[in-house]
Symmetry: C2
Subunit: 170 residues, 2 copies
DNA sequence: TGACTCATGTCAGCATTCTGACATACCGTG
DNA sequence: CACGGTATGTCAGAATGCTGACATGAGTCA
């Protein structure tokens, strides 16, 4: 209906398109993961652990793009159902290295297949060369956003820890 | 730290990179929007209304990638502070066309500048041609994900629901 | 015209994630 | 060694978005 002639730049905005793509991907993943009783963050956590055994809570959080608090509650749940294990005491410092249990690994396997199929579908219609291009271009955007910062010297970024204080909503 | 030799495919996954890029963009936007007391969804709503006056609640929801319920509470808040207006009664059907007030428009203008700067930063280091490539590739991914579906006829999904009649297009 | 399907607006309850805060452990520098 | 700076794990409360559900209006088809 609203087909106006204005140079609506949402239609031409890469940022908007990026959000759209990411949303489509998330939805598609939720779709195939739901039957397995698994959320995207849930899957990301397991996949990270499979590929890098012994990651800590904080490292997992960064890898899954959530706060370490959020990852912590997820890990506690996963521990309860026996998908991961953490030592009762930290071998060094406070860092608790997490590992998949055989059971967790089996659970992951089904999920990996499902997720892989989504990624394959997403890449359908793109040549190898185009996939490489996409990879390179996305990396460029990420890099520019991360440290191509204006004035505000971002040093830490826990996960996104600029956080002045909460947003005062309208 | 954990730099194992395993062919860690999270490092080469376009899906993972897409999420990373989208997260970086969201964080960057929140950063510049926070001083203005505005969230990303909040901004998206105003921007949509500026470019397509008279959009309905549901159309705005689809355009901002949230459910219509979520958009509804946002609109009520925006109405309360006088940034948008909706007729008390629907001119036709149940659809309430929403419009920006002058005040809402002023509020948007500042935000637009801020957001534009983020997008410019994100595109820094990319040529025009590369930006076009990125656009085309993202569109391809979105399209493949949306209807390149495998048998599983999922209908549910308030948000990306069909949307033949809405903002969607492309 | 009546039945059916679909989209919309909205209320209410629930889930997930986030922000705030605290204690603690490591590391570099003076 | 003491100290400031940074990271970590974790608990608790708050915000944000989502699912469920309902009534209503419009379009379609027989």
């Amino acid at each position: 209906m609203s087909q106006d002639g204005v140079g609506v730049d949402l239609e031409t905005s890469l940022g908007y398109l990026l959000k759209q793509a990411s949303t489509a991907l998330r939805v598609a993943m939720e779709e195939v993961l739901r039957p397995l009783g698994m959320s995207v963050t849930h899957y990301a956590c397991l996949e990270l652990l499979a590929q890098r055994p012994g990651l800590s809570n904080s490292e997992l959080a960064r890898g899954a793009f959530v706060t370490r608090q959020t990852m912590n509650v997820l890990l506690q749940a996963l521990e309860r159902v026996g998908h991961v294990t953490r030592p009762a005491e930290a071998p060094v410092g406070k860092v608790l290295p997490t590992r998949l249990t055989p059971r967790g690994r089996r659970s992951l396997e089904k999920a990996t297949v499902a997720v892989r199929s989504v990624e394959v579908r997403m890449l359908a219609g793109m040549t190898e060369a185009e996939q490489s291009d996409a990879f390179r271009l996305l990396q460029s955007m990420i890099h520019s956003l991360r440290d191509g910062n204006d004035g505000a010297r971002v040093v830490a970024r826990h996960t996104s820890r600029r956080a002045r204080t909460g947003v005062q909503r309208a």
